[in-house]
């Protein structure tokens, strides 16, 4: 029986990108449906009534929500290749902890950086630098957050790379100057086809943010 896999997503979403990369890593064929987040589809509202958010994976008619939960689901169902999580329970716990850290901290502070001005933006920049410093420290000398190979934490964080130009521009700093190890790690990750083919161009994301600021009167 052929699997039917549908992904409801929004092209600039770093959460959606995580799922797209996971699907690519596993070689899974799927139907991509772009959502207009200001006019959400009936399908999205029906399948994710709690959060009404993308990404949303529908596998043989059954919905799975929340990007990291979707990634774990993909890893468990399509377990024949490219494991996304380690097999050792302690390493899995370590991976889940850091992926949770990315979820809790990285998105919020990035958004504040481009969506606010003045004092609020200054505070966001300070917080941003601290958070990324923590991540850089966790990465250390390792080639990947997961160690020798690309893993769950790498997947949860690398999608923010497409937003780096936005952060640099509004925060007025250079990612390479502040976080050379993170930038080196990103370049390493971009050598993987699944990532290079998935992440949108940074300039496109920047243009998207400019549009968004206009629409929401955040200029």
């Amino acid at each position: 029986m052929a699997d039917e896999v549908v992904l409801l997503d929004f092209w600039p979403s770093m959460f959606g990108m995580r799922v797209r990369i996971a699907l690519a890593e596993k070689g899974i064929k799927y139907q991509y449906k772009e959502e207009d987040l200001r006019h959400k589809s009936e399908l999205l509202l029906k399948m994710n009534p709690v959060h009404k958010q993308i990404p949303l994976l529908i596998h043989n008619g059954k919905p799975v929500c929340e990007s990291l939960i979707i990634v774990q689901y993909i890893d468990e169902v399509w377990n024949h290749k490219s494991p996304l999580l380690p097999s050792d329970p302690y390493q899995r716990a370590h991976a889940r902890f850091w992926a949770d850290f990315v979820d809790r901290k990285v998105y919020g502070v990035g958004r504040k950086l481009w969506a606010t001005k003045g004092e609020e933006q200054e505070a966001a920049k300070k917080e941003f630098l601290e958070i990324y410093k923590t991540l850089e420290s966790e990465l250390g000398e390792k080639p990947y957050f997961g160690g020798e190979t690309f893993g769950f934490v790498d997947l949860s964080f690398v999608t923010f790379y497409s937003w780096f130009y936005v952060y640099e521009n509004f925060g007025k700093f250079s990612m390479e100057a502040e976080f050379p190890q993170i930038v080196a790690w990103v370049k390493r990750c971009m050598q993987k086809e699944s990532i290079a083919n998935t992440l949108p161009d940074q300039k496109k994301i920047y243009e998207f943010v400019l549009e968004l600021k206009k629409i929401f009167g955040l200029e």
Partner: protein
């Protein structure tokens, strides 16, 4: 299986979750009380430098932090009495609801509790009840979220029978109304009767004092802002 230590406080619902999981799996552990969260111990700061929070599990001296991460670790390390379903889809559902329950619901209820009487409080109560409505649907047709036996989701929802009722008392509000949420109400009653569950919950008086102090503090902050 090696020494297990749990750095925790008795009143934290996030910590009790972990105790329940350890007891359900028959794991022996040492409970290390973190006496004063305003004056954190060197042990906690050393092993959880990122968040500096409880609960913190130490297994063979290696730290695991964040209650849901700890629960999954316990599940994967001690295989007896599985808490999560075997089927990947059911597991994804359990994780989804655990995340919803674990964060949004707890903080929603807390938000409603500490707001002073007025429009903001009413809105917070409505929002918290919307969350409970989702849970009411989830428990339909089942004795526990885990089915006939308690599982992962029951443990994560386990703050509702005890901590929520204390929040309601200190917050001067009623969230889990029996008429609105009969199934959830019944689940809460069944869950808290289980001896292993009951033996880990903090004394009501202690929790009342703790929450009352927190609410007074938060309301004083709000007043000072005006």
């Amino acid at each position: 299986m090696g020494e297990v230590k749990l750095i925790a406080t008795t009143q934290s619902l996030f910590c009790t979750r972990v105790e329940w999981a350890l007891k359900l799996k028959g794991v022996e552990y040492e409970f290390i009380e973190e006496e004063d969260l305003r004056n954190k111990s060197p042990l906690l700061l050393k092993y959880n430098p990122v968040h500096k929070k409880v609960p913190l599990l130490l297994h063979h001296g290696k730290p695991i932090a964040e209650s849901l991460v700890i629960l999954e670790y316990i599940e994967e390390t001690w295989k007896e009495n599985p808490l999560l379903p075997q089927d990947p889809y059911e597991r994804a559902l359990a994780r989804f609801w655990a995340q919803f329950l674990g964060d949004k619901c707890v903080f929603g209820a807390w938000e409603a509790a500490h707001k002073a009487e007025g429009e903001e409080k009413t809105k917070a109560i409505e929002s918290a009840q919307e969350s409970l409505a989702f849970l009411e649907k989830q428990i339909a047709g089942k004795k526990y979220f885990g089915g006939e036996e308690i599982g992962f989701l029951d443990i994560v929802a386990g703050w509702i029978p005890h901590w929520l009722s204390v929040m309601e008392e200190v917050g001067g509000m009623k969230l889990l109304e029996a008429e609105k949420f009969p199934l959830l109400h019944e689940w809460a009653h069944n869950f808290i009767q289980i001896p292993l569950i009951r033996e880990c919950i903090p004394p009501r008086e202690k929790l009342l004092d703790y929450f009352n102090a927190s609410i007074s503090y938060m309301r004083s902050l709000a007043t000072n802002k005006q």
